[in-house]
Protein backbone atom coordinates (compact mmCIF):
# COMPACT_ATOMS: atom_id res chain seq x y z
CA UNK A 1 0.00 0.00 0.00
CA UNK A 2 1.71 3.15 -1.13
CA UNK A 3 1.06 6.32 0.76
CA UNK A 4 1.15 8.23 -2.53
CA UNK A 5 -2.50 7.29 -3.02
CA UNK A 6 -3.44 8.41 0.47
CA UNK A 7 -1.73 11.75 -0.05
CA UNK A 8 -3.52 12.53 -3.28
CA UNK A 9 -7.04 11.37 -2.37
CA UNK A 10 -9.24 13.60 -0.24
CA UNK A 11 -10.52 12.53 3.18
CA UNK A 12 -14.24 11.98 3.87
CA UNK A 13 -16.02 11.75 7.22
CA UNK A 14 -18.48 8.88 7.55
CA UNK A 15 -21.79 9.06 9.43
CA UNK A 16 -24.01 6.02 9.89
CA UNK A 17 -27.55 5.46 11.15
CA UNK A 18 -27.97 2.34 13.27
CA UNK A 19 -31.75 2.05 12.97
CA UNK A 20 -34.93 3.79 11.84
CA UNK A 21 -35.43 7.16 13.48
CA UNK A 22 -31.97 7.32 15.04
CA UNK A 23 -29.50 10.11 14.44
CA UNK A 24 -26.56 9.58 12.08
CA UNK A 25 -23.46 9.17 14.24
CA UNK A 26 -19.84 9.76 13.28
CA UNK A 27 -18.20 6.40 12.49
CA UNK A 28 -14.78 7.35 11.14
CA UNK A 29 -13.20 8.50 7.90
CA UNK A 30 -12.05 7.13 4.53
CA UNK A 31 -9.84 8.29 1.67
CA UNK A 32 -11.61 8.29 -1.72
CA UNK A 33 -11.37 10.13 -5.01
CA UNK A 34 -15.05 11.18 -5.09
CA UNK A 35 -18.34 10.93 -3.23
CA UNK A 36 -19.64 7.68 -4.80
CA UNK A 37 -16.36 5.93 -4.06
CA UNK A 38 -16.32 7.35 -0.53
CA UNK A 39 -19.79 5.90 0.03
CA UNK A 40 -18.65 2.46 -1.19
CA UNK A 41 -15.52 2.51 0.96
CA UNK A 42 -17.59 3.66 3.96
CA UNK A 43 -19.88 0.68 3.41
CA UNK A 44 -16.93 -1.71 3.20
CA UNK A 45 -14.95 -0.29 6.11
CA UNK A 46 -17.68 0.68 8.60
CA UNK A 47 -20.96 -1.02 7.66
CA UNK A 48 -20.06 -4.54 6.56
CA UNK A 49 -21.29 -6.11 9.80
CA UNK A 50 -24.77 -4.58 9.90
CA UNK A 51 -23.62 -1.47 11.74
CA UNK A 52 -25.79 0.88 9.68
CA UNK A 53 -28.92 1.11 7.57
CA UNK A 54 -27.98 4.48 6.07
CA UNK A 55 -24.67 6.24 5.42
CA UNK A 56 -23.60 9.83 4.84
CA UNK A 57 -20.17 10.90 3.62
CA UNK A 58 -19.02 14.49 3.95
CA UNK A 59 -15.73 16.00 2.71
CA UNK A 60 -13.58 16.45 5.81
CA UNK A 61 -12.57 19.86 4.44
CA UNK A 62 -16.20 21.00 4.75
CA UNK A 63 -16.13 20.65 8.54
CA UNK A 64 -15.25 23.67 10.68
CA UNK A 65 -14.12 22.50 14.09
CA UNK A 66 -13.45 24.15 17.42
CA UNK A 67 -9.80 24.09 18.50
CA UNK A 68 -8.21 22.99 21.79
CA UNK A 69 -7.65 26.71 22.54
CA UNK A 70 -11.44 27.19 22.48
CA UNK A 71 -11.75 24.84 25.45
CA UNK A 72 -11.85 27.60 28.08
CA UNK A 73 -14.05 30.27 26.48
CA UNK A 74 -16.36 27.76 24.75
CA UNK A 75 -17.00 25.09 27.33
CA UNK A 76 -15.69 25.97 30.78
CA UNK A 77 -18.23 28.72 31.75
CA UNK A 78 -21.04 26.16 31.72
CA UNK A 79 -19.69 24.38 34.81
CA UNK A 80 -20.60 26.98 37.43
CA UNK A 81 -23.88 28.16 35.92
CA UNK A 82 -26.21 25.73 37.54
CA UNK A 83 -29.25 27.75 36.43
CA UNK A 84 -28.64 26.54 32.87
CA UNK A 85 -29.56 23.00 33.91
CA UNK A 86 -33.18 22.01 34.42
CA UNK A 87 -32.81 19.95 37.61
CA UNK A 88 -34.76 22.44 39.75
CA UNK A 89 -38.05 21.49 38.19
CA UNK A 90 -40.21 18.87 39.85
CA UNK A 91 -41.14 16.06 37.50
CA UNK A 92 -44.88 15.31 37.60
CA UNK A 93 -45.93 11.86 38.72
CA UNK A 94 -46.32 9.38 35.92
CA UNK A 95 -43.61 10.90 33.69
CA UNK A 96 -40.93 8.29 33.25
CA UNK A 97 -39.07 9.45 30.15
CA UNK A 98 -38.17 13.07 29.54
Amino acid sequence: MSDAGERSWPLWEVFGQEGDGEAHQHMGSVHACDAEQALQFARDVYARRNEAISLWVVPSAAITASTPEDMGPFFDPANDKAYRHPQFYKVPKGVKVF
Binding site: M1, S2, G5, H31, C33, Q37, F41, D44, R48
Partner: protein
Amino acid sequence: MTAPNPAFFTALARLGDDRLVLGHRTSEWCGHAPILEEDIALANIALDLIGQANLLLQHAGAVEGAGRDQDALAFLRDAMDFRNVLLCELPRGDFAVTITRHFLHGLFSVLQWEALSRSTDDTLAGIAAKALKESKYHVRHAGEWVIRLGDGTDESRRRAQDALNLLWPYTGELFMQPADEAGLVAAGLTADVSQLEPAWRAQADGVLQRATLTPPATTWMQRGGRDGRHTEHLGHMLAEMQIVARSHPGAQW
Protein backbone atom coordinates in the same frame (compact mmCIF):
# COMPACT_ATOMS: atom_id res chain seq x y z
CA MET B 1 -33.13 -35.52 0.06
CA THR B 2 -34.15 -36.94 -3.28
CA ALA B 3 -32.23 -39.51 -5.30
CA PRO B 4 -28.66 -38.60 -6.41
CA ASN B 5 -28.68 -36.42 -9.53
CA PRO B 6 -25.29 -36.46 -11.34
CA ALA B 7 -26.25 -33.81 -13.93
CA PHE B 8 -27.48 -31.41 -11.24
CA PHE B 9 -24.32 -32.08 -9.24
CA THR B 10 -22.21 -30.99 -12.22
CA ALA B 11 -24.35 -27.89 -12.75
CA LEU B 12 -23.96 -26.90 -9.07
CA ALA B 13 -20.21 -27.56 -9.25
CA ARG B 14 -20.04 -25.18 -12.25
CA LEU B 15 -21.80 -22.51 -10.22
CA GLY B 16 -19.77 -23.10 -7.06
CA ASP B 17 -16.37 -23.47 -8.70
CA ASP B 18 -16.69 -20.12 -10.53
CA ARG B 19 -17.13 -18.39 -7.16
CA LEU B 20 -14.58 -20.47 -5.26
CA VAL B 21 -11.81 -19.90 -7.80
CA LEU B 22 -12.61 -16.21 -8.36
CA GLY B 23 -12.94 -15.73 -4.61
CA HIS B 24 -9.53 -17.27 -3.96
CA ARG B 25 -7.94 -15.18 -6.72
CA THR B 26 -9.46 -12.08 -5.13
CA SER B 27 -8.18 -13.05 -1.69
CA GLU B 28 -4.65 -12.90 -3.12
CA TRP B 29 -4.97 -9.10 -2.93
CA CYS B 30 -5.20 -9.16 0.86
CA GLY B 31 -2.54 -6.72 2.07
CA HIS B 32 -1.57 -5.71 -1.50
CA ALA B 33 -4.38 -3.44 -2.72
CA PRO B 34 -3.53 0.15 -3.73
CA ILE B 35 -5.05 1.67 -0.57
CA LEU B 36 -6.37 0.38 2.75
CA GLU B 37 -10.03 1.01 1.87
CA GLU B 38 -9.78 -0.98 -1.38
CA ASP B 39 -7.93 -3.75 0.44
CA ILE B 40 -10.94 -4.16 2.74
CA ALA B 41 -13.38 -3.87 -0.18
CA LEU B 42 -11.62 -6.66 -2.12
CA ALA B 43 -11.44 -8.86 0.98
CA ASN B 44 -15.20 -8.37 1.45
CA ILE B 45 -15.86 -9.36 -2.16
CA ALA B 46 -13.59 -12.41 -1.82
CA LEU B 47 -15.47 -13.49 1.31
CA ASP B 48 -18.84 -12.99 -0.41
CA LEU B 49 -17.73 -15.21 -3.29
CA ILE B 50 -16.29 -17.92 -1.04
CA GLY B 51 -19.49 -17.78 1.01
CA GLN B 52 -21.53 -18.36 -2.15
CA ALA B 53 -19.22 -21.24 -3.11
CA ASN B 54 -19.64 -22.73 0.36
CA LEU B 55 -23.44 -22.88 -0.01
CA LEU B 56 -23.35 -24.10 -3.62
CA LEU B 57 -20.80 -26.86 -3.01
CA GLN B 58 -22.59 -27.96 0.16
CA HIS B 59 -25.75 -28.34 -1.92
CA ALA B 60 -23.76 -30.05 -4.69
CA GLY B 61 -22.43 -32.58 -2.18
CA ALA B 62 -25.95 -33.31 -0.94
CA VAL B 63 -27.25 -33.71 -4.51
CA GLU B 64 -24.34 -35.98 -5.41
CA GLY B 65 -25.18 -38.26 -2.48
CA ALA B 66 -21.64 -39.66 -2.22
CA GLY B 67 -20.86 -38.30 1.23
CA ARG B 68 -18.67 -35.40 0.07
CA ASP B 69 -19.19 -32.06 1.85
CA GLN B 70 -18.14 -28.61 0.63
CA ASP B 71 -14.66 -28.95 2.15
CA ALA B 72 -14.05 -32.26 0.38
CA LEU B 73 -15.16 -30.71 -2.90
CA ALA B 74 -13.09 -27.56 -2.47
CA PHE B 75 -9.89 -29.07 -1.13
CA LEU B 76 -9.73 -32.69 -2.28
CA ARG B 77 -10.56 -32.40 -6.00
CA ASP B 78 -7.85 -31.97 -8.65
CA ALA B 79 -7.89 -29.33 -11.37
CA MET B 80 -9.49 -31.59 -13.97
CA ASP B 81 -12.50 -32.05 -11.66
CA PHE B 82 -13.13 -28.31 -11.36
CA ARG B 83 -15.84 -26.87 -13.62
CA ASN B 84 -15.24 -23.10 -13.40
CA VAL B 85 -14.83 -20.97 -16.54
CA LEU B 86 -11.23 -20.16 -17.52
CA LEU B 87 -11.95 -16.45 -16.89
CA CYS B 88 -12.02 -17.06 -13.13
CA GLU B 89 -8.73 -18.93 -12.88
CA LEU B 90 -6.46 -16.50 -14.79
CA PRO B 91 -3.80 -14.94 -12.52
CA ARG B 92 -5.00 -11.84 -10.73
CA GLY B 93 -2.78 -9.63 -12.91
CA ASP B 94 -2.60 -5.94 -12.08
CA PHE B 95 -5.41 -4.01 -10.41
CA ALA B 96 -7.02 -3.26 -13.79
CA VAL B 97 -7.23 -6.98 -14.65
CA THR B 98 -8.73 -7.81 -11.25
CA ILE B 99 -11.33 -5.04 -11.46
CA THR B 100 -12.23 -5.66 -15.11
CA ARG B 101 -12.70 -9.37 -14.41
CA HIS B 102 -14.95 -8.61 -11.44
CA PHE B 103 -16.98 -6.32 -13.63
CA LEU B 104 -17.36 -8.80 -16.52
CA HIS B 105 -18.06 -11.83 -14.31
CA GLY B 106 -20.18 -9.85 -11.85
CA LEU B 107 -22.52 -8.62 -14.59
CA PHE B 108 -22.94 -12.22 -15.71
CA SER B 109 -23.53 -13.33 -12.10
CA VAL B 110 -26.30 -10.82 -11.51
CA LEU B 111 -28.16 -12.06 -14.59
CA GLN B 112 -27.53 -15.68 -13.66
CA TRP B 113 -28.73 -15.24 -10.06
CA GLU B 114 -31.85 -13.42 -11.28
CA ALA B 115 -32.67 -16.40 -13.50
CA LEU B 116 -31.75 -18.97 -10.83
CA SER B 117 -33.84 -17.26 -8.14
CA ARG B 118 -36.77 -18.77 -10.08
CA SER B 119 -35.26 -22.28 -9.99
CA THR B 120 -37.67 -25.10 -9.17
CA ASP B 121 -35.04 -26.27 -6.68
CA ASP B 122 -35.85 -24.33 -3.51
CA THR B 123 -32.32 -24.48 -2.08
CA LEU B 124 -30.74 -23.15 -5.27
CA ALA B 125 -33.41 -20.46 -5.58
CA GLY B 126 -32.66 -19.36 -2.00
CA ILE B 127 -28.89 -19.25 -2.58
CA ALA B 128 -29.44 -17.25 -5.78
CA ALA B 129 -31.68 -14.69 -4.05
CA LYS B 130 -29.04 -14.12 -1.35
CA ALA B 131 -26.12 -14.02 -3.80
CA LEU B 132 -27.95 -11.62 -6.12
CA LYS B 133 -27.71 -8.79 -3.57
CA GLU B 134 -23.99 -9.42 -3.11
CA SER B 135 -23.25 -9.58 -6.82
CA LYS B 136 -25.15 -6.35 -7.47
CA TYR B 137 -22.78 -4.62 -5.07
CA HIS B 138 -19.73 -6.24 -6.69
CA VAL B 139 -20.83 -4.90 -10.08
CA ARG B 140 -21.42 -1.43 -8.65
CA HIS B 141 -17.98 -1.42 -7.03
CA ALA B 142 -16.11 -2.81 -10.05
CA GLY B 143 -18.15 -0.80 -12.57
CA GLU B 144 -17.33 2.50 -10.89
CA TRP B 145 -13.67 1.53 -10.92
CA VAL B 146 -13.77 0.56 -14.62
CA ILE B 147 -15.09 4.05 -15.42
CA ARG B 148 -12.44 5.73 -13.26
CA LEU B 149 -9.59 3.65 -14.68
CA GLY B 150 -10.71 3.86 -18.32
CA ASP B 151 -11.57 7.55 -18.21
CA GLY B 152 -8.64 8.35 -15.92
CA THR B 153 -4.95 8.97 -16.58
CA ASP B 154 -3.04 7.80 -19.67
CA GLU B 155 -1.55 4.94 -17.66
CA SER B 156 -4.82 3.80 -16.05
CA ARG B 157 -6.57 3.95 -19.44
CA ARG B 158 -3.82 1.88 -21.10
CA ARG B 159 -3.91 -0.71 -18.30
CA ALA B 160 -7.72 -0.92 -18.35
CA GLN B 161 -7.79 -1.38 -22.14
CA ASP B 162 -5.01 -4.02 -21.91
CA ALA B 163 -7.05 -5.82 -19.24
CA LEU B 164 -10.17 -5.76 -21.42
CA ASN B 165 -8.18 -7.08 -24.43
CA LEU B 166 -6.75 -9.89 -22.29
CA LEU B 167 -10.05 -10.95 -20.67
CA TRP B 168 -12.54 -10.46 -23.50
CA PRO B 169 -11.79 -13.77 -25.31
CA TYR B 170 -12.59 -15.56 -22.04
CA THR B 171 -16.08 -14.08 -21.71
CA GLY B 172 -17.66 -16.27 -24.42
CA GLU B 173 -17.44 -19.35 -22.24
CA LEU B 174 -19.83 -17.77 -19.73
CA PHE B 175 -22.64 -18.08 -22.29
CA MET B 176 -21.85 -21.53 -23.74
CA GLN B 177 -24.73 -23.61 -22.43
CA PRO B 178 -23.42 -27.11 -21.52
CA ALA B 179 -25.30 -29.78 -23.50
CA ASP B 180 -25.51 -32.04 -20.43
CA GLU B 181 -27.76 -29.47 -18.68
CA ALA B 182 -30.58 -29.64 -21.24
CA GLY B 183 -32.73 -31.83 -18.99
CA LEU B 184 -32.14 -29.53 -16.00
CA VAL B 185 -33.16 -26.44 -17.96
CA ALA B 186 -36.29 -28.22 -19.20
CA ALA B 187 -37.17 -29.09 -15.59
CA GLY B 188 -36.60 -25.48 -14.50
CA LEU B 189 -33.74 -26.45 -12.16
CA THR B 190 -31.06 -24.34 -13.88
CA ALA B 191 -31.08 -21.46 -16.34
CA ASP B 192 -29.93 -21.44 -19.98
CA VAL B 193 -26.89 -19.13 -19.84
CA SER B 194 -26.93 -18.54 -23.61
CA GLN B 195 -30.09 -16.48 -23.08
CA LEU B 196 -28.23 -14.05 -20.83
CA GLU B 197 -25.72 -12.76 -23.39
CA PRO B 198 -27.71 -9.93 -25.05
CA ALA B 199 -28.52 -8.29 -21.69
CA TRP B 200 -24.94 -8.78 -20.50
CA ARG B 201 -23.51 -7.23 -23.65
CA ALA B 202 -25.85 -4.24 -23.50
CA GLN B 203 -24.98 -3.52 -19.86
CA ALA B 204 -21.25 -4.06 -20.41
CA ASP B 205 -21.26 -1.72 -23.42
CA GLY B 206 -23.00 0.99 -21.40
CA VAL B 207 -20.26 1.07 -18.77
CA LEU B 208 -17.39 0.54 -21.22
CA GLN B 209 -18.57 3.49 -23.29
CA ARG B 210 -18.55 5.74 -20.23
CA ALA B 211 -15.07 4.38 -19.49
CA THR B 212 -13.97 5.20 -23.10
CA LEU B 213 -12.90 1.56 -23.49
CA THR B 214 -13.53 -0.62 -26.55
CA PRO B 215 -13.87 -4.42 -26.52
CA PRO B 216 -11.45 -6.06 -28.98
CA ALA B 217 -12.90 -7.09 -32.36
CA THR B 218 -12.01 -10.76 -31.83
CA THR B 219 -14.90 -13.20 -32.04
CA TRP B 220 -12.88 -16.33 -31.26
CA MET B 221 -13.50 -17.40 -27.67
CA GLN B 222 -11.52 -19.58 -25.25
CA ARG B 223 -13.32 -22.53 -23.69
CA GLY B 224 -12.74 -25.73 -21.74
CA GLY B 225 -13.23 -25.01 -18.04
CA ARG B 226 -16.86 -26.14 -17.92
CA ASP B 227 -15.65 -29.61 -19.04
CA GLY B 228 -12.54 -29.71 -16.82
CA ARG B 229 -9.97 -28.61 -19.42
CA HIS B 230 -8.11 -25.80 -17.65
CA THR B 231 -5.17 -23.48 -18.11
CA GLU B 232 -1.92 -24.26 -16.33
CA HIS B 233 -2.77 -21.52 -13.82
CA LEU B 234 -5.51 -23.43 -12.00
CA GLY B 235 -3.19 -26.25 -10.85
CA HIS B 236 -0.77 -23.76 -9.31
CA MET B 237 -3.59 -21.92 -7.60
CA LEU B 238 -5.11 -25.12 -6.20
CA ALA B 239 -1.71 -26.32 -4.93
CA GLU B 240 -1.58 -23.23 -2.74
CA MET B 241 -5.26 -23.26 -1.82
CA GLN B 242 -5.37 -26.96 -0.91
CA ILE B 243 -1.98 -27.54 0.75
CA VAL B 244 -3.13 -27.11 4.35
CA ALA B 245 -6.27 -29.24 4.03
CA ARG B 246 -4.33 -32.00 2.24
CA SER B 247 -1.37 -31.92 4.66
CA HIS B 248 -3.64 -32.34 7.67
CA PRO B 249 -6.51 -34.60 6.54
CA GLY B 250 -9.61 -34.20 8.69
CA ALA B 251 -8.10 -31.39 10.76
CA GLN B 252 -10.54 -29.45 12.96
CA TRP B 253 -10.19 -25.83 14.06
